[in-house]
């Protein structure tokens, strides 16, 4: 039993506002990936290190980031830190939560990619007269990027979808926030949510296609 008449015209009137929201969503996702990749590289190095002062904090980060719901991570960034007197705005809290999550997953992606390349390749390079750094740059890095690239774009899509959790901390300018706000004003729930879903799909698809294209350009033999 679904007793509802769709009024698409009313929903389309909301489209410009929702597109603005989609832009904010994309912006947060991109920022969280840029910062996330940076942190993930540091974490991956730390997890490969023999110093326990580097290994254990990095391991703790990865464990928490990968084994707790993203919703809690974002909620804790806002209300959790708030109870210690550290106030992050909804935007920053959402960005921090997603970045925390991204860094945890990407760290393991990078570490896995690094592990996939046998040591013998570096030794072979060294025996050809390459230095340690040169062998890494010419032999390990290109292969590592190739392995890690698609999982990384996967995480990018996940980051886009995670931004929708921002409403729980009062985020109102991203796509979900804008949609929720319009929904409680007009009660046109199903048209608005359907439109939002289409927009999320389009963004995620566009990112994935862009990544495929980039991978094809970069990693062709």
């Amino acid at each position: 039993m679904f007793d509802y008449t769709f009024q698409w015209r009313q929903a389309y009137r909301a489209l410009p506002q929702m597109l603005d929201g989609a832009l904010v969503t994309l912006q947060i996702a991109v920022l969280s990936m840029v910062i996330g990749v940076t942190i993930a590289v540091i974490l991956a190095v730390a997890r490969n290190s023999h110093s326990r002062w580097l290994y254990w904090p990095a391991t703790a980060w990865v464990e928490v980031a990968r084994n707790t719901p993203a919703l809690f991570q974002i909620y804790m960034a806002h209300f959790g830190l708030g109870s210690f007197g550290i106030y992050l705005s909804p935007y920053v809290a959402l960005l921090a939560g997603i970045t925390f999550n991204n860094a945890g997953y990407l760290c393991e992606t990078f570490r896995g990619a690094l592990r996939a390349i046998p040591d013998t390749q570096v030794r072979a390079g060294r025996s050809l007269g390459m230095g340690q750094a040169k062998a890494f740059r010419l032999i390990v890095l290109p292969q590592m990027l190739r392995i890690a690239f698609l999982p990384t774009t996967n995480q990018m899509v996940w980051a886009i979808l995670m931004t929708s959790l921002g409403v729980t901390v009062g985020m109102s300018t991203d796509l979900t926030g804008v949609t929720q706000d319009l929904n409680s004003r007009t009660f046109r729930t199903f048209e608005l949510f359907a439109l939002a879903a289409v927009l999320y799909y389009a963004i995620a698809k566009a990112v994935m296609l862009g990544a495929r294209l980039l991978a094809w350009r970069l990693f062709r033999y």
Binding site: F2, G82, G170, S184, F187, T189, F190
Partner: protein, 269 residues
């Protein structure tokens, strides 16, 4: 024509016509259960007691309605944003959920005559020096997204400029948490909620900082827009609650004092 044909014709007509004319009101009476969508984080209208049982003005109102219909009441807990999906998906029959009767929403859902009227106050923390609505200029404030008071507050904050900002939250509980943590400096809530939350002492240091000069927020029962039979019944029920003094009785029980007028002078509804 012999009587056999007439009789079978009548039976056929009853079979054909019977189900077709049954509307939501008939369905409720036939099913023996009235399912009310009630918001349970909005005291004193709806909340839970120590035993996790739903209590509040809206809960009692739903029970009264079920009694009038001669059926059992069932409270369906519904957050504010889910009121329409709850009705449309058939999870609830009626929304007894403090729904402001805006014209925008009335394009989607059927409103009865108002069953309650809210006035709004500023709620803030000790030591913020906020003592009137005007002193909210340039402050960070928040409220439950999309509510009557949230829309009015956001408009004023934008109109004033002066660096003030507005944050919408998903639930009343989140607003109080944000306020008590200092993430926002004040909120505008209905006077009933404000006095109830200050009295409860659940959040320390909250205090009422003056009245918000809004037009009273009239709220109605809601059901599907095309259920005229039910809407008609609900209108009469609201009228009877006031007439019989039950509205005043419930108001004293949950809020205290004189119940506000549900009518506007010089106009119907």
């Amino acid at each position: 024509m012999n009587s056999k044909i007439i009789a079978s014709g009548l039976i056929a007509a009853a079979v054909l016509v019977g189900p077709a004319t049954a509307d939501k009101l008939d369905d409720i009476i036939a099913s023996g259960t009235l399912r009310c969508a009630v918001v349970l984080d909005f005291p004193p209208m709806g909340s839970r007691d120590e035993n996790n049982e739903p209590i509040g003005f809206d809960v009692d109102y739903c029970n009264d309605l079920a009694k009038a219909l001669g059926v059992e009441a069932e409270i369906v807990e519904t957050p504010f944003p889910d009121r329409i999906p709850a009705l449309v998906s058939g999870r609830a029959d009626v929304g007894v959920a403090s729904t402001s009767d805006t014209l925008e929403r009335a394009k989607t859902v059927g409103f009865t005559i108002p069953y309650f009227a809210f006035t709004n106050v500023v709620l803030t923390r000790d030591g913020t020096e906020i003592d009137s609505y005007e002193s909210l200029k340039g402050k960070t404030v928040g409220s439950v997204a999309g509510t009557y008071e949230a829309i009015a507050l956001e408009e004023d904050i934008n109109k004033w400029g002066e660096g003030g900002s507005f944050r919408p939250y998903q639930s009343q509980a989140d607003v109080f948490l944000a306020l008590s943590q200092g993430q926002i400096e004040a909120t505008v809530v209905t006077s009933t909620v404000a006095s109830s939350i200050v009295e409860s002492g659940k959040y320390e240091g909250l205090t009422i900082g003056g009245d918000a000069p809004y037009i009273p927020d009239y709220v109605s029962l809601i059901t599907l827009r095309n259920e005229y039979g039910l809407l008609n019944y609900l209108d009469l029920f609201v009228n009877q609650q006031v007439r019989s003094g039950r509205y005043q009785e419930l108001y004293e029980k949950w809020v205290g004092g004189e119940a506000p007028d549900l009518t506007i002078n010089k106009v119907y509804r």
